[in-house]
């Protein structure tokens, strides 16, 4: 296995992480680092274990063995709230948005802003902050008070990514964030991902599109049937090499 120099301060380090579901070994011994301002792509065939890896860092599953290390400290992520408290946010494949609620409510879902002794929802401030954040990322929506179901697929994904960026102090996990999008919308979402990286977030992205992986990632981690078969600097590898690693054919 090729080992690649990691950046000076890896925010997140996986140390020989393994996951079994009963008799099924979904992941065997994956070691990976993601640094601040870095995009690492996770590729592999269906069933390779990509989602399982993401879910372990998201606190949905717990490793059978091995460690997840944040800023040098091993952590136990027993549930999604643990992960969130550690500054890790996930952009889910099936957009975790509430369709009939306004954009700003989705942005602050579970962490709504309140004011006054009665702890009234501060809708105005949530709307203003949502507008600022989406402006920063150049996500264009008609209004932060628009209802999610009135937005396009790209706008929705923009909102989901905006939410992750807003709350993620450390790491944003993305599981095929553009799988359901058209060409133009994909390009917009990629721009948003790059801007998120520029703001110093570490990003781990699962993608089926090698073109996309080569457009935006700094490093590529290849999984095959639960095994980590290689990590490459994107600039120093080729599509052919990655395809060979994914399929196991030379």
């Amino acid at each position: 296995m090729a080992s690649v120099e990691a950046p000076a301060a890896p925010l997140v380090r996986l140390d020989r992480v393994r996951k079994e579901f009963g008799a099924v070994v979904a992941l065997q011994e994956v070691s990976l680092e993601v640094g601040a301002g870095e995009i690492v792509a996770l590729v592999g065939d269906n069933g390779a274990g990509k989602s399982t890896l993401v879910k372990m860092i998201a606190g949905v599953h717990q490793p059978t063995s091995g460690e997840i290390v944040l800023d040098g400290k091993p952590v136990r992520l027993a549930n999604p709230n643990d992960s969130r408290r550690q500054g890790i946010e996930v952009v889910f494949q099936d957009l975790a948005l509430a369709d009939n609620q306004p954009v700003y409510m989705n942005m602050f879902l579970g962490r709504e802003l309140v004011r006054g002794p009665l702890r009234r929802l501060d809708r105005a401030r949530m709307a203003t902050e949502t507008q600022q954040l989406l402006d920063d990322l150049d996500v264009r929506i008609p209004s932060p008070r628009a209802t999610i179901r009135d937005l396009s697929g790209g706008q929705r994904q923009g909102v989901a990514i905006g939410r992750a960026t807003h709350w993620a102090q450390r790491l944003v996990l993305m599981d095929e964030p553009t799988a359901a999008l058209g060409v133009q919308e994909t390009a917009r979402v990629e721009e948003i991902i790059l801007r998120m990286r520029d703001r110093g977030r570490a990003i781990l992205i699962v993608s089926h599109s090698l073109d996309q992986v080569f457009r935006i990632s700094d490093r590529i981690c290849v999984l095959r049937r639960g095994a980590q078969v290689g990590v490459r600097e994107t600039a120093g590898t080729s599509g052919d090499e990655i395809v060979a690693l994914i399929t196991g054919l030379r």
Binding site: P80, N100, Q101, L118, R145
Partner: protein
């Protein structure tokens, strides 16, 4: 008109309030959310004209309508929470009877305070029971509350042997029935109080936002850290407790309780809530709309009686009008 065209450049105007102009706000209002107010005015106008000589539009009669609908209005407020969370509570009609009977009996034997507490306690208890089976055992609230509807109605009949229980405690009758504060009947005050508190909690607290989020997309709510099961339990306790208060209001108004109280109220309350703009499948709702929906239902009953329809004819007319109202308020826009 060009000024009013939706702008194709969706980047926000710099420095403007993100809520947008009044016009932009008005464009975002779902027409279905104000149909109920329109329907209210139309029905009011219709009866005012056709029943001109029968005293429909007298203040006494209008106040009567509000007083008669008080229990249903209170139940409707609770139901807004349940439906908005994507759940349902079919047990509320039975809870009305049980709470009224238990309150009447305990009131007679142990006094006012314990009577009221026991009545409301029935609501909390049934709500917790519904919530436990719905959350801990992951059963659909539709089936759980269908079962407790029968269970609770059975207890109400069994414990009283189908006998009516009279309420003679004058304080109770004043507070929950025929009393007035100044010129305002207490039943009107109870309605207003419950609607105001309900509206505040629903519209202006984090809890209300969580109720809506869960009804909209429970897994999305869960991954953002909302305690989905706690909220589900809470809405079921709220609706059963509201129904128990409705039972007390009945007991106060008719100065007694029987197992038949509230039996027809479940459907009327659901109709009121749904006409009032609450989605039957969760994710959006309105407490004020539910009050207006409840007043519409009360107005229909009252108007149809004044028109001289017997109760069978009333049922037919109510059903037909309900279909009309639902078509107007609930029709999903095409292509969604």
């Amino acid at each position: 008109m060009a000024l009013h065209e939706p702008s194709t450049d969706t980047s926000p105007a710099t420095g403007s309030d993100p809520s947008g102009s009044l016009l932009a706000r008005m464009r975002r209002i779902d027409p279905r959310s104000y149909v109920v107010y329109l329907a209210f005015l139309l029905i009011l106008a219709f009866f005012a004209v056709t029943l001109q000589d029968d005293g429909f539009l007298t203040s006494t009669n209008l106040l009567n309508i509000v007083k008669q609908t008080a229990p249903v209005s209170v139940m409707a407020v609770g139901l807004v929470f349940v439906l908005s969370a994507g759940e349902i509570d079919l047990s509320i009609g039975s809870v009305v009877a049980l709470a009224a009977l238990v309150a009447a009996i305990v009131l007679r034997d142990h006094g006012l305070v314990l009577g009221v507490l026991a009545g409301l306690g029935c609501g909390v208890g049934v709500g917790v029971l519904n919530g436990f089976f719905t959350t801990a055992l992951r059963l659909p609230s539709f089936l759980v509350t269908l079962a407790t509807m029968g269970l609770v109605a059975g207890i109400a009949r069994w414990t009283t042997d189908l006998e009516a229980v009279a309420v003679t405690n004058q304080t109770f009758v004043n507070v929950f029935g025929s009393g007035k504060v100044g010129p305002v009947p207490v039943l009107v005050l109870w309605t207003l109080g419950v609607v105001l508190v309900g509206h505040f909690v629903f519209r202006h607290t984090r809890f209300g936002a969580h109720v809506l989020a869960i009804g909209d997309n429970a897994s999305a709510a869960r991954v953002t850290g909302i305690h989905v099961d706690r909220v589900r339990l809470a809405v079921l306790v709220i609706s059963a407790s509201a129904a128990a208060l409705g039972g007390l209001l009945y007991a106060g108004r008719v100065q007694g309780a029987t197992y038949t109280l509230g039996t027809s109220d479940l459907l009327i309350a659901i109709a009121a809530v749904v006409i009032g703009g609450t989605r039957l499948f969760g994710g959006s709702g309105s407490v004020v709309g539910a009050l207006v929906g409840s007043l519409i239902m009360g107005m229909l009953t009252n108007g149809l009686i004044l028109m001289g329809l017997d109760s069978n004819q009333q049922m037919v007319a109510q059903g037909a009008l309900l279909l009309l109202a639902i078509s107007l308020t609930l029709r999903e826009p095409r292509g969604r």
